[in-house]
């Protein structure tokens, strides 16, 4: 009886894992073919579509990085009369507010929204909602405080909004502190797989590119119509992705709209960040799963991709359980389909945030003109195993939180130190 249950579980879980592998193989092939047909050094953006834009920058104790971001904001090439920048100093206890005020005094387009411990400090979604009420731009862009955009990024993102069916646009984050250590290098690989291949392929194939909450924007009218961001969600960006699609709009990916980010550089910080992402993603999965399945506004391919995207943070758990089930069956002498066993083990060489396997990472790095970073691909197995624990804990925390009626209402943020300059200063 136990053997039959194990066999059944192993068979179905391996099939699901196989479906993800096929999905990423298709993504990789799609991007390869697209790269071959694209002209090298494509011309810079020449769009004439220039709507009014509000940039929201939520900041909670970001004194080490907020100054350099505001400096970059003053250097943006977008027409200044159509631009407003709102920095939300959300219950900071350091000098974030003072630095922002200094910039605001020097540059008219920068506004500072101060929130004290009574009105603010309730998390990123809450801070964004407060700023959204003050924003007047037709398009609202969001940047985290540790990001460093190129001067022409606004035009590249906004260009996609010329299509009225587009509800949000996502740009591409590039890791700034890549050479720092093995953690930042592995995150670089993950980002390459996630953005250079995954997001781009989803955009080309008309699936669901994900809005990442930073280096991207949305139509203010749409999100205001939703009543702003859902403050009960830990990953309000993923929640917004599905709200936009369920409302009948789509999200586009602007791969040439690059912005540098500071990746976490310790395993402890990595755990905290990924735990929040995993828990938030699972929250969104429980919230939207049924709606995605039954929605009449989504095409069948969007439904499939949406469901695979929603369940991505469950996959490390399923993969590991599948490994245990398959391993037990083999050790107890029960036959296991060799091909399925191979599929399960291949997925150990995947990154968790996007479930991108090693071959996708390699192609992404190569398309980015990288020569050596993909040599770290064999280490992906350790990152995956680490994520098995992260996602399992996130799942149990979510379930326990639901049972006990706990809800999050504070900042679960990553500390930014202003480290790294591999593209900017070197």
């Amino acid at each position: 009886m136990l053997t039959e249950i194990l066999n059944l579980f192993f068979f179905f879980s391996a099939l699901i894992i196989g479906a993800y592998l096929i999905r990423h193989y298709i993504f990789t092939l799609t991007v390869l073919r697209s790269a071959k047909s694209k002209p090298v050094n494509a011309a810079t953006c020449k769009s004439v579509y220039e709507p009014s834009v509000s940039i929201l920058i939520p900041a909670h104790n970001e004194e080490k990085v907020v100054g350099r971001l505001l400096q970059k904001m003053t250097e943006l090439s977008y027409p200044k009369d159509k631009l407003e920048i709102i920095l939300i100093n959300d219950a900071s206890t350091d000098s974030t507010g003072r630095i922002a005020e200094d910039y605001s005094n020097q540059h008219k387009l920068i506004k500072v929204l101060h929130r004290d411990k009574q009105t603010g400090g309730k998390g990123k979604a809450s801070a964004l909602n407060a700023a959204l009420k003050q924003a007047i731009g037709e398009i609202v862009l969001c940047f985290d405080a540790d990001y460093l955009p190129h001067s022409d990024i606004i035009a590249k993102i906004v260009e996609k909004f010329s299509d009225p069916s587009v509800g949000a646009v996502q740009g591409r984050p590039v890791v700034l502190n890549e050479p720092r250590n093995i953690v930042t290098r592995l995150i670089t690989l993950e980002r390459i797989g996630g953005y250079r291949v995954d997001q781009e392929a989803r955009d080309i194939l008309g699936l669901i590119p994900q809005f990442g909450g930073t280096v991207g924007g949305f139509r203010r009218s749409i999100v205001s119509g939703f009543g702003g961001f859902d403050e009960s969600m830990l990953t309000e960006d993923t929640d917004l992705t599905f709200q936009i699609y369920l409302a009948g709009y789509k999200i586009r990916y602007a791969g040439d709209a690059e912005c540098y980010e500071e990746a976490v550089d310790t395993w402890k910080a990595y755990w905290r960040q990924r735990h929040r992402w995993a828990k938030g993603h699972m929250q969104v999965c429980f919230k939207h799963e049924y709606q995605v399945l039954t929605s009449k506004k989504l095409k069948w391919k969007e439904k499939i991709d949406g469901l695979l995207l929603l369940h991505i943070y469950f996959m490390p758990i399923i993969t590991f359980l599948s490994f245990l089930a398959g391993g037990s069956l083999i050790l107890f002498g029960s036959p296991v389909a060799g091909a399925l066993w191979f599929v399960v083990l291949v997925s150990f060489y995947s990154f968790v945030g996007n479930y991108a396997p090693f071959f996708e990472i390699g192609i992404g790095a190569h398309l980015d003109g990288r020569k050596r970073v993909q040599w770290l691909a064999p280490l992906m197995i350790f990152s995956f195993l680490y994520n098995v624990f992260i996602c399992t804990k996130a799942f149990f925390d979510l379930i326990v939180g639901k049972l006990l009626g706990r809800s999050h209402s504070d900042w679960e943020k990553t500390e930014h130190l202003g480290n790294g300059n591999c593209y900017i200063e070197n």
């Binding site: 090298v40 050790l331 083990l345 291949v346 071959f359 020569k371 770290l376 064999p378 992906m380």
Partner: protein
């Protein structure tokens, strides 16, 4: 000049035919001297490698050379662990066979993943390199 170009083309063709022969020999050797799993692994590796790697920029000679190298490494790797497992089965008994089945894909991924990562470095850079 034209004669030289033709000579290079001929050499490339001979190299390609030679490489294909080696790949076929590797597949036969894996089936004859190792086991069916190793042959299937090599076939999957060839299909996967050819479908992705051959779409990248770079000379076809380099690509087929890498594919051939992959097959040679695969045969040696598989035969080494196969004969090692046979000796261990002799020592520990038949129960070790299950352990070998368990770790067999991991052992193969231990050469496939690094080989894939390294082989990409032998091709010329593609477009869109990151610059500030």
């Amino acid at each position: 000049m034209r004669e030289k170009v033709n000579q290079v083309k001929t050499i490339n063709r001979i190299a390609t035919v030679f490489s294909v022969e080696i790949i076929i020999l590797c597949l036969i050797a894996s089936l004859r001297f190792v086991n069916i799993q190793s042959t299937i692994t090599l076939i999957i590796f060839n299909l996967f490698f050819a479908s992705l790697f051959f779409q990248l920029n770079g000379s076809s000679t380099t690509k087929i050379g890498m594919l051939t190298a992959g097959n040679i490494i695969g045969v040696f790797w598989n035969s080494f662990f196969y004969y090692l497992s046979l000796s261990w089965i002799e020592y520990f008994g038949l129960s070790f066979n299950a352990v070998f089945t368990l770790i067999y894909p991991i052992l193969n991924l231990m050469w496939i993943v690094p080989f894939w990562s390294l082989s990409l470095s032998f091709l010329p850079k593609m477009q869109f390199p990151k610059t500030a």
